[in-house]
């Protein structure tokens, strides 16, 4: 399959949006990625177009033939429309970097785009494999709730299958060789998407960020590197990949650090609930009020309001909205999703109006 079939559902079956799993009141999703490269082939940014075509073909064949899932979607990104690319970024299936159109290094700006692609397992969208991003292969597994162990097991199996047919670049001293030396070794990044409105409201978020940085963990926003913490969502991930095994990183994040952050966030929320802080309740009900009445809503505002609403749902203040609905709305109100759901291209003003309409319709719908 090439290109995103219009019939594909973008509404319900995505695994990481289910709002279930361990600690799902705080942990939205867990993600594990591995960086891998083909031996004897320059890294994507360094090779010629011919090199990239060759690595794309080789990896595509290996991925499609590895029996990873009963249904696998392959998208040639260099041929995909801007809207399709944006859709995949919003769903966390490809990076922003991978979505951007760029001519081959040294080629004229009118030259054809760099050959690159992505494979996605359907219908759960749990596994995605980017080809010719910064590295030849970027494998990722994303799941709902705190599930780093499950993500690791799944990606390890996918990696082992690919490794049996692809000659990976590996050295006994440096491990898996990557374009950027900050990924060399395990090529592993484990990250957890956390919803931390409690820690933001009681002011402890800065302390958590500092502590995480001291432990050499990265703290990023909703859309990864360089993005802001939209709507109190923070991604915490490991940075060290050389000299520490996958098990050690997993143990540190899943057993020691993340449960602590979850505990702090829950304590903050409990204290709001028992003290019934008017300011917090006011913020939640105002958010609900705006979301169910406004006529124009921007992406950023929607994200912030839905974050407050999510807190209201978790605290039991908002009873007629399900957490999974809030999670879905965070995605459906993003620009590309909005246009996809409504089936037409829209400019920014039209989107603000359509977004408000969608929010009202979904939140006021009676089951």
């Amino acid at each position: 399959m090439t290109g995103i079939p219009p019939s594909l559902s973008f509404e319900s079956r995505t695994e990481w949006l289910r709002g279930e799993g361990r600690a799902s009141d705080v942990v939205m999703s867990s993600r594990v990625r591995l960086a891998r490269n083909i031996n004897g082939c320059p890294f994507p940014h360094r090779g010629t177009r011919v090199h990239r075509q060759a690595s794309l073909q080789l990896c595509r064949r290996a991925i499609l033939g590895a029996g990873l899932s009963p249904m696998l979607l392959w998208v040639d990104l260099h041929e995909a429309s801007p809207l399709e690319r944006m859709l995949l970024v919003e769903r966390h299936l490809i990076s922003k970097h991978h979505s951007k159109s760029r001519p081959s290094a040294g080629a004229a700006s009118t030259a054809p785009e760099d050959p690159r692609g992505v494979a996605i397992t359907l219908p759960d969208e749990r596994v995605s494999i980017m080809v010719n991003e910064e590295d030849h292969l970027r494998l990722q597994v994303i799941r709902t709730g705190l599930a780093l162990s499950e993500c690791w097991q799944e990606i390890d199996a996918v990696d082992t299958r690919l490794e049996s047919v692809l000659p990976y670049a590996y050295s006994s001293r440096f491990g898996y060789l990557t374009a950027c030396p900050t990924n060399v070794g395990t090529g592993l990044r484990m990250s957890v998407m956390l919803h931390l409105p409690g820690l933001r409201l009681n002011g402890d978020i800065e302390r958590v960020k500092r502590a995480a940085t001291d432990m050499n963990l990265a703290v990023r926003g909703f859309y990864g590197e360089g993005s802001d913490a939209a709507g109190d969502f923070y991604q915490i991930s490991n940075q060290t990949t050389l000299g520490r095994s996958e098990r050690q990183v997993l143990e540190e994040l899943e057993v020691q650090i993340i449960p602590k952050v979850v505990e702090y966030e829950r304590m903050a929320r409990r204290s709001f609930a028992t003290k019934r802080l008017a300011a917090v309740e006011d913020q939640i009900y105002r958010a609900y009020g705006i979301l169910t009445n406004a006529r124009l809503v921007s992406t950023e505002e929607a994200m912030q309001l839905l974050s407050h609403l999510r807190l209201g749902v978790v605290l039991g203040l908002i009873k007629n909205v399900d957490q999974a609905v809030v999670n879905h709305l965070m995605l459906l109100t993003q620009p590309a999703h909005l246009q996809r759901v409504l089936g037409r291209e829209m400019d920014q003003d039209a989107r603000r109006s359509a977004r408000a309409e969608l929010l009202r319709a979904r939140l006021l719908a009676r089951p």
Binding site: R46, S171, Q248
Partner: protein, 187 residues
């Protein structure tokens, strides 16, 4: 600035303190040499020049050795160390061998003191030597590459400890193993 002794441009500056008074002398290269200051033509050339001459004279022109010693470029993708420092991206898997010496301290800083891989190993990297009956062309190529990497390390050590006969023998082994390998992708 002009030389204190002739009309040439001064390139050497000497500052001395005599009886608590600062005295500055500006000389051109020629006058400085006469005065016994600055670089003299009889001074021995730096060690790396001797080594490079030796490598060229004995035909040990293997790019990896030169790269490691003079920070030239990666033999496979031609990336220079300076290019890497500008972009923070290496050019190909072979860059890790070509720049191994320079990368070591950098990786140690970036990975909280981590210097050696610890964790998952590709099955073929550990299984291939133990089970030669399953050797495929790809496995053989990988084994050969692993052997070349190890030999290159030994070669660097031999050159560093001035064991030139040993270095020449290792170089011949590397040549034999890498015959036919080029920078083209193995795809």
């Amino acid at each position: 600035m002009k030389c204190d002794r002739c009309d040439n441009e001064a390139t050497v500056q000497e500052i001395t303190i005599r009886h608590g008074v600062r005295v500055e002398t500006h000389l051109c290269e020629q006058c400085a040499r006469q005065a016994g200051l600055g670089p003299t033509p009889t001074a021995p050339p730096p060690l790396h020049e001797i080594l490079q001459k030796y490598i060229q004279a004995t035909g040990m022109g293997h790019a990896t050795v030169v790269a490691a010693k003079t920070r030239a470029n990666c033999p496979s993708c031609k990336l220079t160390w300076e290019e890497f420092r500008q972009a923070d991206r290496l050019g190909c898997p072979d860059c890790y061998t070509a720049f191994e010496a320079q990368l070591g301290p950098l990786l140690e800083r970036a990975h909280e003191g981590g210097i050696k891989h610890c964790g998952k190993t590709p099955a073929r990297a550990c299984a291939a030597p133990a089970r030669p009956e399953r050797a495929s062309p790809q496995n053989e190529a990988l084994e050969r590459m692993a052997r070349v990497t190890s030999l290159r390390k030994q070669l660097e050590q031999a050159v560093a400890s001035e064991q030139y006969e040993r270095a020449a023998a290792i170089r011949d082994q590397i040549r034999q193993l890498s015959a036919g390998d080029g920078p083209t992708p193995s795809v």
